[in-house]
């Protein structure tokens, strides 16, 4: 399997977006670059940019490895990508509005009814509820992979609570600290205004009951959550409060936070707590992370919850395979960004095929995330495949399978110089009265040679992502 290298594709020499960088790189002393790499690690450690790995007691806080070679995208490539992304998030929001109201898409027979009715990600509590400004998913991280010069595919639509945006910003910050001269030679579009855009975007979808400038807050499960750094980072950069469930309560039909001077109304809550934990009165009654009664306030239109509850139905892996139909149904046009062919194991023919070709496929849990509970056929042992086949047969509807794609590669700096590694890309999209996409995103890179798993929980790293101003 030969992968497309974004810097030097086989037999084609240097690709244009990398020419400025390459000129600089060739003139660098390798020893100095190694030193810079260590500097970068120190910066991350000192600022406490860490994440927690579930299931590991020791080393509860770890760094996501950072590679100092940027991933570079030309302005033209980016414009094409953003058109596809915009179309996709419009469709996602239209789908959510439809699925919780008239369900036209089901009536039209474009997706099977049982996929919605029997799906845990579909929240009956949201039926007939229209959030302020009609936006359901406000912050989306669309995972995109590339396989050739002009071939981009969406791997996943993260429409619930996508994370990683703080790394996009800190990676850039670190690169500018390490290599200021580079940014004078190559014109890169800025990403650091993301928090301001986020705040504008959230304020724009405040409920009508907000008096004057809406009060925005970020809801975190707490400092033991794996993405806590990001929650604190975003609240800080936006200049809003970072709250936990027990700081909040419902007062006079509004959600309010307990301050040193009493309770203060919140209009927009950027929540980084899963649906299940949001309201113990409506969802998981054991949750101590949420706010009792917040769903009533939401249904009354007195608070914006971003993203709205129930958006998981749009990024569910079982729904994913229908995204081309969904995009076409709501936008009236063919999807600009393609989907990866997907076998739904719930269908007997597909299951049969998947079981027969397990060693070639990537099999994922429908509701899983973070690279947990998946099988990468080509690199799995025979024993692992057999064990997985048993799970698959026991509950086929829990799985989908996709071909093992030749993800594009970008060079990383190793002890022996540059070496190609597989990457993906997660641009961050903000939806309110308009759609905003920050030029860049989070590039995740599989640091192990040949590995296709880029998740940070599975040993992946990150890179700064440059969109050129050309």
């Amino acid at each position: 399997m030969v992968a497309f290298d974004e810097m030097r594709p086989q037999g084609n020499g240097l690709r244009h977006p990398y020419s400025g960088y390459d000129g600089w790189f060739q003139s660098q002393d390798p020893a100095r670059l190694t030193e810079k790499m260590q500097d970068a690690e120190r910066v991350f450690r000192r600022t406490g940019i860490t994440f927690a790995v579930y299931g590991e007691q020791e080393a509860a806080e770890r760094l996501i490895p950072f590679d100092i070679v940027p991933r570079i995208i030309s302005g033209a490539e980016w414009r094409r990508l953003t058109q596809g992304i915009e179309q996709r998030v419009q469709a996602l929001n239209a789908f959510l509005d439809d699925i919780y109201h008239r369900q036209e898409i089901l009536r039209a027979g474009r997706i099977p009814r049982e996929l919605i009715a029997g799906n845990a990600a579909f929240l009956p509590e949201m039926i007939g509820v229209r959030p302020p400004a009609g936006v359901y998913t406000h912050i989306i991280g669309v995972d995109i992979v590339r396989t050739a010069e002009n071939e981009f595919f969406v791997l996943e639509d993260n429409a619930r609570t996508p994370s990683g945006v703080s790394y996009m910003i800190e990676n850039r910050e670190t690169m500018m600290q390490l290599f200021p001269e580079l940014f004078q030679m190559v014109k890169v579009r800025p990403v650091e205004n993301y928090p301001q855009l986020l705040r504008q975007s959230l304020s724009a979808v405040a409920p009508r009951s907000a008096n004057g400038a809406p009060t925005v807050a970020v809801l975190t499960p707490g400092s033991y959550n794996s993405a806590y750094f990001e929650h604190a980072f975003l609240a800080d950069q936006m200049g809003v409060e970072l709250v936990e469930g027990h700081d909040l309560r419902v007062v006079d039909g509004h959600v309010a936070m307990r301050t040193t001077q009493g309770y203060k109304q919140i209009d927009v809550l950027y929540r980084r707590v899963d649906d299940d934990y949001l309201d113990p009165l409506t969802f998981n009654p054991d949750s101590a992370l949420g706010v009792p009664g917040i769903m009533d306030v939401f249904r009354a239109g007195n608070i914006t919850i971003a993203n709205a509850p129930g958006t998981g139905i749009a990024d569910d892996k079982a729904i994913y395979s229908y995204m081309p139909e969904i995009v076409e149904f709501y936008t009236g046009r063919k999807a600009i960004l393609g989907n990866i062919p997907t076998w739904r194991c719930s269908e007997p023919d597909s299951l049969k095929y998947v079981l027969e070709h397990l060693d070639e496929l990537v099999v994922k849990e429908v509701h899983g995330s973070g690279g947990y509970g998946m099988l990468v056929g080509p690199t799995a042992s025979k024993k692992e495949c057999e064990a997985f086949a048993a799970k698959l047969k026991a509950k086929p509807s829990n799985y989908i399978a996709q071909p093992t794609l030749a993800l594009s590669t970008c060079p990383i700096l190793t002890e022996k110089g540059l070496a190609p590694r597989h990457v993906d890309l997660r641009p961050f999209v903000l939806v309110s009265d308009r759609i905003r996409i920050v030029p860049g995103g989070l590039t995740r890179v599989a640091l192990k040679e040949g590995s296709l798993v880029v998740n940070s929980s599975q040993g992946g790293g990150t890179k700064d992502t440059w969109v050129l101003d050309d």
Partner: protein, 313 residues
């Protein structure tokens, strides 16, 4: 506008940072005493544990008071919630929780102190290294203080942090005095022996006041002067009077900003009334021990009232 939980986090963050420093200082004073007086070093280490206020917990873990057991328990034992290692951990997790209220410099200095302490105290302490370790701990907390004072805006965030520092510090100074109160009493028969000189110096040393004492009083150590210095002197940064001057300042700002006075303001006035200059003789008349015991209790009450009045929970 500040979350009650954030105010709580700030208060405990600085309390625990202060505790880290105090713990290092108490061990330092004990080490000094043990080095200068070899005959009864077990007693000295025992009184170090008493000063740290962790006697019962210590006895559950160790049978003997030695340099090894005491320094291990006070510096690196994580079952002791007041050890340096536990305190820096608590301070940092509070800092992490209130991170959005801190300047980058402040957060980073706390995070670095945490990393340094964890590294230094990862394995049992080699007694030869103890002075170096104590120095390093004090240096880390000094860096935090520098970053904090040099970069933080003087607003409610600063005030709640200040309250934590000075409530903890007042408690620490009062406790050190109380453990050694009998050494300061004029009525005890062995007063004036060279033994007392060591003891007195040790008290001053455990609050880093052995040099400044001489600047103020010039003469030899005198028990009433030492007590006066640590209880009533308004320019001595670890005295009870100084701590309460700072607490008063912060509580006054909060009352002004919020336009509201609470129960803690009343308690404050009451405590300050007991710390009037020139009242050291009457303190001795009442009984130094009784005075200190009452002070520690009132100081605790003030802390609880602040928590309640400003909706920490």
């Amino acid at each position: 506008m500040l979350l009650g939980r954030t105010a709580n986090g700030l208060y405990w963050m600085t309390r625990y940072i202060e505790r880290v420093e105090n713990m290092a200082r108490i061990v330092d004073a004990g080490l000094r005493l043990a080095l200068t007086r070899t005959d009864s070093s077990a007693d000295e280490w025992a009184s170090v544990v008493l000063s740290a206020g962790v006697e019962q917990a210590f006895r559950e873990r160790h049978d003997e008071y030695t340099a090894d057991t005491v320094s291990d328990f006070l510096l690196r034992d994580v079952t002791n919630p007041s050890s340096v290692l536990s305190s820096i951990e608590t301070a940092r997790s509070n800092a992490r929780m209130v991170r959005t209220a801190l300047t980058r410099e402040t957060w980073e200095s706390i995070n670095e102190a945490w990393m340094t302490c964890r590294r230094m105290l990862a394995s049992p302490i080699d007694q030869r290294e103890l002075p170096k370790i104590l120095d390093a701990i004090k240096r880390e907390t000094a860096l935090i203080r520098g970053a904090f004072h040099g970069t933080m805006l003087r607003n409610e965030i600063f005030d709640f942090a200040q309250l934590g520092i000075y409530v903890e510090r007042a408690d620490n100074t009062a406790r050190i005095l109380d453990v050694k109160y009998y050494v300061l009493l004029p009525s005890i028969s062995w007063v004036g022996s060279s033994l007392d000189n060591y003891q007195w110096e040790s008290i001053l040393r455990s609050v880093s006041a052995h040099r400044s004492y001489r600047w103020v009083y010039e003469a030899d150590y005198k028990p009433t002067n030492i007590a006066d210095f640590l209880i009533l002197n308004r320019r001595m940064p670890r005295s009870l009077a100084y701590c309460y001057q700072m607490i008063a300042e912060s509580l006054a700002y909060l009352a002004e900003d919020y336009g509201e006075r609470h129960a803690c303001h009343g308690t404050l006035e009451e405590i300050r009334g007991r710390l009037k200059p020139g009242s050291i003789t009457s303190i001795f008349d009442v009984g130094l021990h009784e005075f200190l015991r009452d002070f520690i209790r009132s100081n605790n009450r003030l802390g609880n009232e602040v928590a309640e009045n400003y909706r920490f929970f």
